[in-house]
């Protein structure tokens, strides 16, 4: 299975920014943890991070043309603002999981609206940095969907 793990703005600061909320793991260490077992089992899990909305949209479009099997997306703050990411995800027909390290619904009210939740299969939030590996493990067990 091929998976894109797309990360939005400020996720590159994981491990240093507001560690009481986001934990001490860096994106690099999370990536390594998730890829090790997946690679051994013959899967391809690609981690991407961008602070630019348009780049995230292009990666989703790329997932469509490349027929990637699943997208895990932590759009971070763009979750609450981006109609462009909503539209791009709507056009993608593989598995889609919206992931957040914290639980946005328990935080400031401006984080309570997600433009992404209604166009994905599943939402996983508030499980800390471990959420990534839990979601990826699960996706790797699912049958591949034709898209």
């Amino acid at each position: 299975m091929n998976i894109y793990v797309i990360n939005g703005p400020n996720i590159n600061l994981l491990g240093t920014r507001e560690t009481e909320i986001y934990g001490k793991d860096t994106l690099e260490s999370i990536t390594k943890d998730c890829q090790e077992q997946a690679f051994k089992d013959g899967h391809d899990v690609k981690f991407m991070q961008s602070n630019y909305e348009g780049e995230i949209v292009e990666w989703i479009q790329n997932a469509i043309t490349e027929k990637i099997d699943a997208i895990v997306i932590n759009a971070a703050a763009y979750t609450h603002t981006s109609i462009a990411i909503h539209d791009a995800l709507k056009s993608y027909s593989g598995y889609k999981v919206e992931l957040h390290i914290s639980n946005p619904h328990l935080r400031e009210s401006f984080r309570h609206v997600s433009y992404i939740s209604s166009v994905v299969d599943a939402v996983v939030a508030g499980l800390g940095p471990d959420g990534y590996s839990h979601v990826i493990d699960l996706l790797l067990d699912l049958p591949i969907k034709v898209n």
């Binding site: 009481e20 909320i21 999981v97 914290s102 639980n103 619904h105 328990l106 935080r107 997600s114 939740s117 209604s118 994905v120 299969d121 599943a122 939402v123 996983v124 939030a125 508030g126 499980l127 800390g128 471990d130 959420g131 839990h134 979601v135 493990d137 699960l138 699912l142």
Partner: protein
């Protein structure tokens, strides 16, 4: 001992036939329980799996029994259609549990955000996880997350 998990299912979950429209054909609560039981057994967790159609009974069970458990997975089902008093009661109970340092994860079979107004349970900022939209796998993922948190404690 730090391995006792309570899984509690709210009103309406005794009959999952109405979930067929959301793509989870033939799912039954028995099948969910079976899957949870296998997952917990594999991880060495002691599981108590319950369902209650009566919301106030469910809340009483939580208040009275939580001292006997180390972690909670809750599928509150129709809670969002309940009164604001009901919502407050959930928050009070969830706060009590998280204050004891016990992990709580809300699970949903379906993606509740596709249906409009459904809102997740409220609780303290870092205390409550959420998994929705993965069918019975929502429970599996929540159990694995709880297990990781308990083993880190």
């Amino acid at each position: 001992m730090n391995n006792r998990l309570l899984i509690i299912n709210g009103p309406g979950l005794s009959d999952l036939s109405n979930y067929n429209e959301t793509g989870y054909d033939d799912l039954t609560l028995d099948a969910v329980q079976q899957k949870c039981s296998e997952t917990c057994e594999g991880l060495g967790l002691e599981m108590d799996f319950r369902q209650n159609d009566n919301e106030s009974e469910l809340l009483s069970v939580l208040i009275e029994d939580i001292d006997n458990f180390d972690a909670l997975i809750i599928n509150p089902a129709g809670h969002s259609q309940a009164s604001s008093i009901g919502l407050d009661m959930y928050s009070t109970v969830i706060n009590k549990i998280t204050n004891q340092g016990k992990p709580v994860v809300e699970v949903r079979i379906e993606n509740i955000f596709k249906q409009g107004n459904n809102k997740p349970l409220q609780g303290p900022e870092s205390g409550v996880g959420f998994v929705g939209g993965l069918g019975m796998h929502s429970y599996v993922l929540a159990i694995k997350a709880i297990n990781k948190k308990l083993s880190n404690n």
